[in-house]
């Protein structure tokens, strides 16, 4: 860590009604891996957008290598040697790797030259990638490599990475970290945004922590504990979920030899899945995104039906029942995608509460809705889960992601489910709120509900689940007690190692 590469001084950016960043200053040195930490809405993305030229700061300035730096657009930022890997990939499925990379370049060379360059870069940084492969057939980790190589071909001085590990298996994370360390050794700087505190402690030299748009601390993450970092982010101490020993009841939900073809070309087929959940038990299902998580939730919620005997609830075959009938039995679910799936963005919270609670909370009589009662139920959810919203009449889409997540999970939890299936329950939710949601799930288990948590956050699954299984290409590994598993074993299960697989029998 020698001289300063990029210096930010007093950056402020206000949007109508909110101050996204206020007087933020810090330095990124040459060859430094700098972490940017903060809760949802702390202003991380606005700050990064200012550096990348997507947003113009109201006041404050940046200097790059000692000269003033004010990019008006991403192209200018790239020309100055700043590259960014976004959380959501912008790749075309139908094109191959080299074509996708060429699309993001100012002056792409000939395809054959480019392919050679790609191979060279991918080998020297230990990121295996075939330039002629079609992107549609790549895994999430490989897609990320395409984005990283696209950036590296520009020979950047500063690489910005937004939540890069959320889609990777532990083994893929190791590969990525090796690459990042190599870049660091070459004197390149990295600005690393992540929620995963352990990763930051392992990788980053310095961390800047943002809270409510202001910088609250700069520290050396290796010298602080994950808990200290989290408390700095939140600004107060919070209670970690407490797992108390529970008595397991009878088997509530059983899935037997469940196979289901994917609904469309981009879905994943489920292949002979077997597992059971007992009352009072939390089953965690891990796996890299796109390995059948959505489909598993759909066949359990009733959005997709299956052979009747494939899903058994309390001794009753329910595979052919739709969502309404399953809700009546007490099987509730919370899908991953908040906007458009778990909630309708243009409808109010009251209407969204009504959406899944109409029968269990008897919010309608002979089909005629009782809006007053619906609103009271919505307000109950808002209170119990600390959803920050002006009122129950606010459209769901105008809530921040974390607040809406609290609402959609709360909506199901408050209906006293007997089985609750959730996918990515704390995705994009800040540490304190995530802890509250996990606690609510554990509390439900204490009341003898069976809980199935599908998640890509391994720490979350290890924290709350009693048994763990992993989805890989639509197959589910055997469930094993979580406390007996090491992270390596979990990684192998996620990668679909065959000795752990039961479905091929």
């Amino acid at each position: 860590m020698s001289s300063v590469l990029l210096r930010l001084e007093g950056l402020t950016k206000a949007y109508p009604g909110v101050i996204a960043n206020q007087d933020v200053s810090f330095d990124i040195g040459h060859g430094e891996v700098h972490a940017l930490l903060g809760e949802n809405g702390a202003g991380k993305s606005t700050l990064v957008k200012m550096i990348y030229g997507l947003v113009k700061p109201d006041t404050g300035q940046m200097t790059l290598n000692g000269t003033p730096f004010a990019p008006v657009e991403p192209r200018a930022a790239r020309a100055s040697g700043i590259a960014m890997v976004f959380q959501h990939f912008s790749l075309f499925d139908a094109l191959n790797v080299a074509e996708n990379i060429a699309l993001g370049m100012e002056n792409p060379p000939k395809q054959s030259d480019l392919a050679r360059q790609i191979t060279k870069v991918s080998q020297s940084y230990g990121l295996p990638l075939d330039p002629h492969k079609t992107v549609g057939g790549l895994s999430a980790g490989e897609r990320q490599r395409v984005e990283i190589i696209r950036c590296l071909l520009q020979n950047p001085q500063l690489l910005i990475m937004d939540e890069p590990t959320s889609v990777l298996t532990p083994q893929e994370v190791d590969i990525l970290f090796k690459t990042l360390r190599k870049l660091k050794a070459e004197g390149k700087s990295i600005l690393y945004i992540s929620h995963k505190l352990e990763e930051i402690r392992a990788l980053c030299d310095t961390a800047t922590i943002l809270r409510l748009g202001k910088k609250v601390a700069t520290c050396e993450p290796a010298k602080a504990s994950a808990r200290e970092l989290a408390e700095m982010m939140v600004g107060s101490s919070f209670k970690a979920p407490e797992k108390t020993p529970r008595d397991l009841g009878k088997v509530l939900l059983e899935v037997k030899d469940l196979s289901k073809a994917a609904a469309d070309a981009f879905g994943t087929s489920l292949k002979s899945i077997n597992f059971s959940v007992r009352a009072g038990e939390v089953v965690g299902i891990g796996g890299v995104a796109g390995n059948g998580q959505d489909e598993l939730l759909s066949v359990l919620s009733g959005e997709m039906t299956s052979k009747s005997s494939a899903v058994v609830f309390d001794g009753k075959a329910i595979g052919t029942l739709g969502p309404t009938k399953r809700r009546a039995l007490g099987i509730l679910s919370g899908p991953e995608e908040r906007l458009g799936h778990a909630a309708a963005p243009n409808m109010s919270l009251t209407e969204n509460a009504l959406m899944t609670a109409v029968d269990r909370q008897s919010l309608a009589k002979n089909g005629f809705l009782n809006w007053g009662k619906a609103q009271r139920f919505a307000e109950k959810v808002i209170d119990a889960f600390d959803v920050r919203t002006p009122s129950a009449q606010t459209p769901a889409g105008s809530l921040s992601g974390g607040n809406l997540q609290k609402f959609v999970i709360g909506r199901e939890v408050m209906q006293a489910p007997r089985v609750l299936v959730v996918n990515q329950p704390t995705w994009g939710v800040d540490a304190a709120a995530a802890a509250a949601i996990r606690q609510a799930l554990l509390d439900l288990a204490n009341e003898q509900a069976a809980i199935i948590v599908i998640s890509q956050d391994l720490d979350e699954l290890i924290e709350i689940s009693d048994r763990f299984g992993a989805l890989n290409e639509g197959r589910l590994s055997q469930l094993r007690p979580t406390q007996d598993l090491s992270v390596e074993e979990i990684g192998l299960m996620m990668g679909g190692a065959h000795d752990l697989e039961v479905s091929d029998a």
Binding site: E73, S301, G302, E303, G322, P323, T324, R327, S333, P335, E337, L339, G340, H341, A342, A343, A344, P345, N346, M347, E351, L354, M355, T356, V358, A364, G367, F368, L369
Partner: protein, 325 residues
């Protein structure tokens, strides 16, 4: 102006004179309800589908089929007199429109065809059937060989008469008002209406909530077909009086404008239907008084929708001049 007519006077003649000019109001005011009723009836049905993202463009065809079935039912009893004939005709009209709308509904749910194309093309099929029956099956045997059915206005059991003489208030107007109230209650108070709105807002969320998409499609197309059929039936037994080759006058298409002009809201549609009817009547008056071509009023109606949609665009987006990003 471009047609060489005084613009302000034209606007006065279109929007003011039909309602308040002593010479015309007596005739025009009842006409307002007569013209508005089918528009409102059809538009209410269409708006339910549009709310759910189901685009029935073929209300004109359902309107024709409702008229043919309703008139056919009445003529089958000719010359018997009975109080049951008119209610039977209403049922037949509704059924005719409903069946015609079920064709795109079934094709959509079974084979995933596009209901826009199917319903639109069925309009032309319906027009051909209309031409055929008015020269064949339903032709007036005492009509001296002219195409067209008997005049139902002269067959009292089948006539859709004015309830209050001189007001234009026939049974179709009553049906239109009832449909407005029905749609309002459905959309704001009933779970089915909630599911329709949910389907339009977020189809995946609707499925998650337990809505069966097939049922919403069949329900929405069914209701809109039924209401369009009713409108056709009330028209043929009332203001039009008989089935003729050119019986349909574009109400089914104009109703699409009415539905959007009313913002797909029942009360809005009621007002939009009255406004659109006013442009029809005022337009006729303008043709008479100023010699404006008939097409110019259609142009005006089209522009109304065009500017409304433009307003929507500009409330959500703004134009930026200069260098784009």
């Amino acid at each position: 102006m471009m047609l060489g007519k005084p613009p302000l006077e034209a606007i006065r003649i279109i929007f003011w004179d039909p309602l308040f000019d002593p010479n015309f109001a007596a005739y025009s005011r009842p006409q307002l309800l007569v013209k508005a009723a089918p528009l409102i009836l059809i538009a209410i049905g269409l708006s339910l589908g549009f709310r759910a993202g189901i685009w029935n463009i073929g209300a004109e065809g359902q309107y024709i089929m409702g008229a043919i079935c309703g008139a056919g039912m009445g003529l089958a009893f000719y010359p018997t007199q009975s109080v049951f004939i008119f209610p039977l005709m209403i049922a037949a009209g509704a059924l005719g429109g409903w069946l015609w709308a079920m064709i795109p509904a079934v094709l959509r749910t079974r084979f995933n065809t596009n209901e826009i194309l199917v319903s639109l093309m069925l309009v032309y099929v319906a027009e051909s059937i209309l031409a055929s029956v008015s020269q064949g099956l339903l032709k007036n045997p005492e009509g001296y060989g002219f195409p067209g059915s008997r005049n139902l206005q002269q067959y009292s059991s089948a006539a859709n008469t004015e309830i209050f003489v001189g007001t234009g208030m026939h049974w179709g107007v009553v049906a239109a008002f009832v449909s407005v109230i029905f749609a309002y209650v459905l959309l704001t108070r009933h779970i089915r209406g909630f599911h329709i709105r949910l389907t339009g807002e977020a189809p995946r969320a609707a499925k998650f909530a337990g809505v069966v998409p097939t049922r919403v499609i069949v329900f929405c197309l069914g209701i809109s077909g039924m209401l369009a059929g009713l409108a056709g039936m009330f028209e043929v037994s009332g203001p039009a009086g008989q089935i003729t080759i050119d019986f349909n006058s574009g109400y089914g298409f104009t109703a699409i404008i009415v539905a959007f002009l009313g913002r797909l809201h029942p009360i809005g549609i009621l007002l939009a239907g009255l406004l659109m009817a006013l442009t029809y009547i005022g337009g006729e008056l303008a043709q008479l008084m100023l010699g404006l071509p008939g097409a110019s009023i259609q142009l005006f109606q089209g522009m109304l929708l065009f500017f409304l949609l433009a307003t929507d665009v500009f409330t959500h987006y703004r134009i930026r001049f200069g260098e784009g990003k």
